[in-house]
């Protein structure tokens, strides 16, 4: 089990919030085998960008919170991981943490990530308004025009897709 970290800020398309996952148990894919469904549903599955999410299929109906760690700003594997999770039918929260910054927020949202977890330092360097602005740029989306389904389960629900 990983220690929770209460000092974090969470930013979604609406703006900043205090991290509401900090009281939850955190576990990694290796921990899943020994986990009961109740703990699985109440905790946070923390994924490394190299994870083969296809192996998690049996758990995707149980889990309610997935955190994808980004190694650094140049490493886009987490975006594909989120897309893959959505493709496999996982329909609850996905958050990104680590080396992801405001200019990647649009990408995160469009790949089905709901929110980004920030350190205090990152939150003070990248003010809330920038994130909110970045979220609005998701509206212009070539891929959606070309017939690809939105990966964001929230916007799909909003649109009744």
């Amino acid at each position: 089990m990983i220690d929770s970290n209460s000092a974090r800020i969470v930013v979604d398309a609406a703006g900043f919030h205090l991290d509401d996952w900090h009281k939850r148990a955190r576990f990694t894919p290796e921990d899943l085998a020994g986990l009961d469904a109740k703990t699985g549903a109440s905790g946070v599955l923390v994924l490394d960008a190299a994870q083969r999410v296809e192996d998690l299929t049996p758990w995707l109906n149980v889990l309610t919170a997935v955190e994808i760690g980004f190694d650094n700003a140049g490493d886009g594997r987490g975006f594909s991981l989120a897309r893959a999770l959505r493709g496999l039918g996982y329909a609850r929260d996905i958050r990104a943490s680590g080396g992801i910054h405001v200019d990647q927020f649009r990408h995160a949202l469009q790949c089905g990530i709901d929110a980004v977890i920030l350190t205090r330092e990152a939150a003070s360097r990248m003010p809330e308004q920038h994130w909110v602005n970045a979220a609005t740029t998701t509206a212009l989306n070539y891929q959606a025009r070309l017939g690809f389904a939105s990966a964001s389960w929230r916007s799909r629900e909003d649109l009744n897709l």
């Binding site: 140049g74 893959a84 200019d103 212009l140 989306n141 070309l146 017939g147």
Partner: protein
């Protein structure tokens, strides 16, 4: 020609605004250089040896006169009066200032152009056969596919931070002028039992590890193209190597996983996601298709007999010589395809001055249905010129210093920027091209030699495509001294081949004599004038070249030096 719809316009304007704001945040220190770098790269801005460089996309190499004039204006207002056309159908401005970039991007947006994804670890500007829509041997205009891919790849959220850059080329003709075998993905439009679809080749590339692409799919239905490419990119993004940038291209993944495993992985994702793809709306496909119809011809065309260019040729030897090299047959016998050489001997290959750009723009508008192409061989093409106007076009080009009659010949050299501009260079490249062109045109050997592709790179990254040059030259640094390796027999077409090294490299001084030895070996050994350099090499192999380049008396010296 494809014109921006309201969405395209809004999208490009939005990107300009976002980039302006990112530059401001970088200058204010809010964005770190590590964070900013991928952002500026995805907007075409490089930090080069002397200054910032802006690389502007010319999607599938197609331009109109208004766009060409805008490039001329940019060259004059923000650069030093010229631009450099590259091997990937882009134009680079080498001397710009970071705080001007926003204004330049705005000026580009005014004429439906942009610099989006011309660099960075994302899907790059999609290239296509530069004779598209005019070539005789075409199944379908590849620009329809390339435009679809432009839209698909632009701003794709999942693939903006790939392990490495990703290059796609499309050809619709049997003769591959788009070098598809050497792209991350090469798309060949093919017909099978009367149905048009795609043959997909994966993992080709030049650079440090030159590899000819492997067939991934023999026949892909057209409707599956986008979800299938999505699966390719998805698998690459997740499993491509990120620990070593020299092993990060998809070609290495193909080598390491093996094509079978990779294909299975791609197919699995494709099968799982195919149904979530609703298909490209017919209206969008229709708009793209309509944009690439043959130009509308004036009524006099209907009555025009095929004009006989031999009359023009008889009037002027210079025109005759130029027509021999710079014209290509058009699918419509009343037209010809004109190649404008940007390789005047002694000039920088691919450079065009603002004045020259305007001359080309005027000619395109006046005589060529307002269509211009940029080729990956760094030349400009007027794809549809009525034969009746070839002579007039030639005269105007000649007056502007643009009538070099050397397309496909010795002095039509591809050379990367090399030591003159590039921070990674280990040797000069442009001056070598200039020297070769000047020397052998002075010797009047060019015509006699005929078809020959010389390609020069200033370091192992191979931007000058030397691996696929009939004669390839690679400039290296050996203990602080330039050393040039020569390869022979490379070919970027459908008969794709990598050049083989002749042996030890040559100093800058010994290089030109070595090239002369190679050319002499060919001229003395060929069966007749119809046997091209490449055909000769394929027949006789490396041995006679080796013997001539490294005679026994010299060999000992070379070996002790190596």
């Amino acid at each position: 020609m494809y014109r921006y719809n309201q969405f395209d316009t809004e999208y490009v304007r939005q990107r300009v605004a976002i980039f302006r704001e990112q530059v401001a945040r970088r200058i204010a220190g809010v964005l770190t250089e590590d964070e900013f770098k991928p952002l500026r790269l995805q907007n075409g801005v490089y930090l080069q040896l002397h200054a910032y460089m802006l690389r502007v996309a010319i999607p599938y190499g197609t331009l109109n006169a208004r766009q060409m004039r805008a490039l001329a204006m940019i060259a004059e207002c923000w650069d030093r009066g010229y631009g450099h056309f590259t091997t990937r159908q882009n134009i680079q401005f080498n001397w710009i200032r970071l705080d001007d970039v926003g204004d330049i991007l705005e000026a580009l947006a005014d004429v439906e152009m942009h610099a989006i994804q011309t660099s960075g670890n994302c899907v790059r500007n999609v290239t296509a056969d530069h004779f598209a829509g005019a070539a005789k041997d075409e199944i379908e205009d590849p620009r329809m596919t390339a435009e679809l891919l432009r839209q698909y790849s632009t701003g794709h959220a999942e693939f903006a931070f790939l392990p490495r850059k990703f290059k796609i080329a499309v050809t619709g003709a049997a003769h591959d002028r788009a070098v598809t075998a050497f792209h991350d993905i090469g798309i060949n439009i093919v017909r099978k039992e009367g149905v048009v679809g795609y043959r997909i080749v994966i993992g080709g590339g030049l650079g440090r590890t030159p590899i000819i692409g492997t067939e991934l799919v023999e026949f892909l239905p057209k409707a599956d193209l986008l979800p299938y490419l999505e699966a390719v990119l998805h698998v690459y993004n997740r499993y491509g190597r990120r620990d070593n940038k020299y092993k990060a291209r998809i070609k290495i993944l193909v080598q390491e996983l093996g094509i079978e495993t990779l294909r299975a992985e791609i197919d699995a994702y494709f099968t799982a996601t195919r149904d979530a793809f609703a298909g490209v709306p017919d209206a969008m496909l229709g708009a793209i298709e309509a944009a690439f119809q043959p130009p509308e011809m004036p009524p006099e065309m209907d009555v025009a007999e095929a004009y006989d260019l031999r009359h023009d040729a008889a009037l002027s030897p210079a025109l005759a010589a130029w027509m021999e090299t710079n014209l290509e047959e058009h699918r419509d016998g009343r037209h010809a395809i004109v190649s404008i050489s940007l390789k005047a001997p002694g000039a920088t290959p691919g450079d065009a001055s603002a004045e020259q750009m305007r001359v080309i723009a005027d000619l395109a508008e006046r005589y060529a249905y307002d269509e211009i192409r940029i080729s990956h061989e760094q030349n400009v093409i007027l794809p549809h010129v009525p034969k009746a106007h070839i002579a007039a076009v030639f005269r105007a080009l000649d007056a502007a210093g643009l009538a070099s009659a050397n397309i496909g010949q010795l002095s039509d050299i591809i050379a990367c920027p090399g030591m003159d501009y590039c921070a990674l260079a280990t040797a000069r490249s442009i001056p070598i091209a200039q020297e070769i062109a000047t020397r052998f045109t002075a010797l009047k050997m060019e015509r006699d030699i005929g078809a020959l592709k010389i390609k020069i790179s200033g370091c192992i990254n191979a931007c000058g495509h030397h691996h696929v040059g009939h004669i390839g030259i690679l400039g290296l640094d050996r203990a602080g001294v330039e050393n040039y390796q020569i390869t022979l027999g490379g070919d970027g077409t459908e008969d794709a081949a990598l050049g083989a090294r002749t042996g030890p490299g040559f100093s800058a001084e010994a290089l030109i004599p070595a090239i002369e030895t190679i050319l002499d070996t060919y001229l003395h050994g060929r069966k007749n004038r119809d046997e091209t350099f490449l055909a000769f090499y394929r027949r006789v192999g490396m041995a006679p070249f080796k013997r001539a380049l490294y005679p026994p008396t010299n060999r000992a010296r070379h070996e002790s030096a190596a």
